[in-house]
């Protein structure tokens, strides 16, 4: 379990990361999402103990990283944005060096190195000089380094950048597998990747957290209104009026006549889509309309992302953050209130710049 509290980083007078807090639970994959320059790498460097924070704490498996860095770092495997490899070393040599650095006991090193090489499929390049490897292989060697010693907590900074589509899928599968034994935080600016692998996501822009939630909730709460598709057979006017009279239906956006008495309705909802769906079904049944097909179209995740990132007030994101902090330490509401306000004014200021 990793706890990040009020993490802040100033570069000079520029606030790169602004008072962010979140937790990464055991056996959880947390996606860290944001556009370029949002403060992702800075945050990850701080969590990994490379950059000192201007304020806040990072606690890794119960150890504060600033108070006992050596102990805290034993639980971390870190793959930075640029894989930290020595071009003049051979892959195996490099991994053996890293194993020593990570204090893998001498007797287990060989086995451990073979395990990670196997996992990332770099066994066939083990005798090559790293400088002769392609970008994808370098990335995987860097990844292998992070897995050495089986640390409980993995920090992966854009692990799939520079890989070909096959490798991306491979690496994603590896990350998904890691969940069994590790907690993982991995950053990306590719949404589909995050939604494919992560349990929860943290969305960050300009150093502020815009949202912390599961993908499903994000879609539900922030993705605007769900679209319902209904294919039905029966009296069209009856069906239309039944649908329109149901609570929570914003409008019928389209009716396609599909022939043979079949119509497809596309309905925009407002409010809880599940509730609306049940009610529409019930209404249609009452009117004797035959339902052939019924599905909910999820809003585009990309749209969710854009909406969150571009929102200047970030009300919803802050609200969630606020609630999360409240849930953890309810005894300090006043301070958090201020923090939330500060963040708001700051983001406004940044917007002005």
């Amino acid at each position: 379990m990793v706890t990040i509290e009020n993490l802040t980083k100033f570069y000079g007078s520029n606030r790169a990361v602004n008072n962010i807090s979140f937790t990464i639970n055991d056996n959880e994959i947390l996606g860290f999402l944001g556009p370029n320059g949002a403060g992702k790498s800075t945050t990850m460097n701080m969590i990994a103990g490379y950059l000192p924070m201007s304020d806040g704490t990072v606690t890794i498996c119960g150890t504060d990283i600033t108070k006992d860095p050596v102990k805290a770092k034993q639980n971390i495997g870190y793959l930075p944005e640029i894989p930290p490899v020595y071009p003049d070393m051979r892959v195996r040599e490099y991994l053996s060096f890293c194993a020593g650095l990570k204090r893998v006991p001498f007797g287990q090193r060989k086995k451990e190195i073979e395990r990670v090489m196997d996992l990332l499929r770099i066994t066939d390049v083990q005798t090559k000089l790293i400088k002769n490897l392609s970008k994808g292989y370098k990335q995987r060697v860097g990844f292998a380094q992070a897995l050495l010693g089986n640390p409980k907590f993995l920090i992966l900074d854009e692990p799939t950048v520079g890989l070909d589509p096959n490798q991306v899928v491979e690496v994603r599968n590896i990350i998904a597998d890691l969940k069994k034994e590790h907690s993982v935080i991995f950053s990306s600016h590719i949404l589909s990747e995050v939604s494919a692998v992560c349990d929860r996501v943290v969305i960050i822009n300009k150093g502020n957290i815009k949202a912390i939630d599961t993908i499903e909730n994000l879609e539900k709460n922030l993705g605007g209104n769900m679209l319902l598709h209904i294919k039905l057979k029966g009296d069209r006017s009856k069906a239309s009026s039944a649908i329109e009279l149901t609570d929570g239906v914003a409008e019928i956006t389209k009716i396609n006549d599909e022939g043979n008495g079949f119509f497809e309705y596309i309905i925009k909802t407002s409010g809880d889509a599940d509730q609306v769906r049940t009610e529409i079904m019930a209404a249609l049944m009452r009117n004797g309309v035959q339902i052939n097909e019924f599905f909910t179209e999820k809003p585009d995740l990309e749209a969710v992302f854009m909406q969150l990132v571009n929102s200047t007030s970030n009300k919803s994101g802050m609200q969630q953050l606020y609630e999360e902090i409240m849930a953890e330490n309810p005894e300090v509401p006043a301070e958090d209130d201020n923090a939330a306000e500060n963040t708001d004014t700051n983001s406004d200021k940044e917007g002005d710049e």
Binding site: Y11, G12, A16, N45, A48, G49, Y50, L51, P52, P69, V70, K71, K73, Q74, I76, Y78, P80, I82, P83, P84, V85, Y86, P87, D88, M89, E93, F97, C98, A99, G100, L101, K102, R103, Q145
Partner: protein, 243 residues
């Protein structure tokens, strides 16, 4: 610490680096030795191995920064500093691991020069006490400049810049004693005394005369500690300043 030490040694010995430096050192040493031995009959010149060291030291200033220029500059350049800093190893151990590796290469380098005293001893007579002192002095001298070279390397990402700046500083150290003897500085006796006490050259010359003085040893060791501590502070400082 040991794994960093091992890795540094590998990076120096798996590449032609250590060998090239050692070869250059041997060349300089041999050249001076030959010249000295060749002119033995013709003059009142008294030949001593310590004189060779004294002469070589000037060239030596080119070698040490080349050896140490990559220690920290390359870590920054390749982004591998992140790996070291996020591993469960303290900065102190990183600095010491690298320092000891450089010292080992340095020892490898001067070990080659032992060939000449050995050959000379087989065919003639060598003043062992003086020779030993010269080697001890030379070792301290080198150990101090390695610490200095590493410090310079930790200031930059560019290893060539590190080498050049390292050379400039080492030259300044070398000429400090000449400079402190000038008439101009002579006007200020206190300043002269202070400057002279920082000059490493005269201290080495005591060693090469066969004198081991506690003050000289203390000077070299404290210089090494100061440079290494500064190195440590500098790495931490750069982390804090980064951005």
């Amino acid at each position: 610490m040991f794994s960093i030490y091992k890795k540094e040694l590998q990076s120096l010995f798996y590449t032609p680096f250590a060998y090239a430096i050692a070869a250059l050192f041997m060349f300089l040493f041999t050249n001076t030795f030959n010249n000295s031995i060749g002119s033995m009959d013709s003059s009142v010149f008294r030949f001593a191995f310590s004189d060779i060291f004294y002469n070589v030291i000037f060239y030596f200033i080119f070698l040490i920064p080349i050896m140490t220029m990559r220690t920290f500059a390359d870590e920054r350049k390749f982004g591998t500093e992140v790996l070291l800093m996020t591993s469960p190893v303290s900065v102190f151990k990183i600095v010491m691991g690298k320092y000891l590796a450089n010292i080992t290469v340095f020892l490898f380098m001067i070990a080659g020069s032992l060939l000449y005293p050995i050959v000379t001893a087989m065919n003639g007579e060598v003043v062992m006490g003086q020779l030993l002192c010269a080697y001890i002095g030379f070792f301290f001298w080198g150990a101090m400049f390695i610490a200095l070279g590493m410090l310079v390397s930790s200031f930059t990402e560019n290893s060539i810049i590190a080498a050049i700046i390292g050379e400039i500083i080492m030259f300044a150290f070398l000429f400090l004693d000449d400079f402190s003897q000038t008439d101009f500085i002579g006007q200020f006796p206190t300043l002269q005394k202070v400057l002279y006490s920082f000059a490493a050259q005269p201290r080495f010359s005591y060693f090469s005369q066969g004198l081991i003085r506690l003050s000289d040893i203390v000077f070299f060791i404290s210089a090494i500690i100061v440079f290494l501590a500064w190195n440590y502070i500098n790495i931490e400082r750069r982390r804090w300043k980064r951005g």
